[in-house]
Amino acid sequence: MVNATHNPDTDKKIFALLQDSQTYERGFGLLIQTYQERLYWQINTILKQHDDTDEVLQQTFIKIYKGLATYRGDAQLYTWIYRIATNACFSFLKKKKRQQTLALDDTENGIAHQLTSSSYFDGQEAELLLHQAIQTLPQKQKEVFLMRYYDEMPYQQISDQLGTSVGGLKASYHHAVKKIEHFVKENMS
């Protein structure tokens, strides 16, 4: 098993391994090791519960495995992965909510009603809106926000990875934060 930590060269190494069918599986293994923890917490901020997070994390990696052929390396690998994970979360929540609603239709004992009205869904609203807001950001702002907000990376490290000046990154992050705050506040019920 490969132990990996993320650094600017890791994505290049993963991408290179994925280009060759001989090393494809090794590349995918390195991708899992590199991003599993980061993605777990990303998903967990939305779904909260470990079992749900574990299920969606597995689904995300399966989707990544199936979709790697379409990844052309034009966006940061993590940005591409992040979008898949977020979409998987939204699909999971939709499915779960639909199941709860069906259960509510079928039973009168009130248990399902307790579930649907619990904070499981209501408490996630701000977090869901935050992820929706991130999806609306331009590519560069999205990348900077994810690295700074979730990964708490110093500007210099982001600069090395994205090839953008520190001043430019600060401006991008500032704009991204303001846009997201505005989006979440405006859309919260």
């Binding site: 098993m1 293994g29 899992i32 090791q33 599993q36 923890e37 777990y40 917490w41 967990n44 901020t45 470990h50 574990d54 994390l57 597995q58 990696f61 399966i62 495995y65 701000a126 977090e127 935050l130 700074r148 907000y149 708490e152 110093p154 992050y173 500032h174 934060v177 303001k178 997201i180 705050e181 979440v184 506040k185």
Partner: protein, 184 residues
Amino acid sequence: MKDKENIKKELESLSPFLSQLKSDTSENKSVPKHYFANFEDRLRNRMEQESALQPTAPIPTKKNWSSWLARFWQPQYAMAFSVVLLLLAFWQWMPQQNDATTVVASHQSLLADISIEETTDYILENIQDFEMTDIATLLEEDELLTIPTPTSTSTLDQALQQIEGGDQLLDELTEEDIEALEFF
């Protein structure tokens, strides 16, 4: 550690709302022991199981005409055929309509330059080419009276007309006189 503090302070200054949201979601985070160490193995097992459950491609069966035709007994094919037939019918009908209207229009434009007098003269000169019933349907009653009726006179009648008092001469002719005429 210092970097993380700076990042937190930066977010607080930029957006206290997002800073609060982040600190709320960061509380009580923990995962089961060895979760990440075992994750890849569990994932690979699941992928193998799912790929094993994937339906294999159906084995092609021997084709026959009835099975080939049977696939057209579906609503989408019926709809598609109906649309194609309608389009063909429309395409067939439209040019004919256009041709008919074009011919009538061209005839009307040609006749528009000819006066009634010219038309009448033409008809009278070529009256033998027209059926009387056709002419009668086209003309008004008073116009019909103005058209001279063609007369058919025999050679004998024409000869008698040229002779002064021909009618009287004809009355006086007896059967013997007629028999005596050479050309009878």
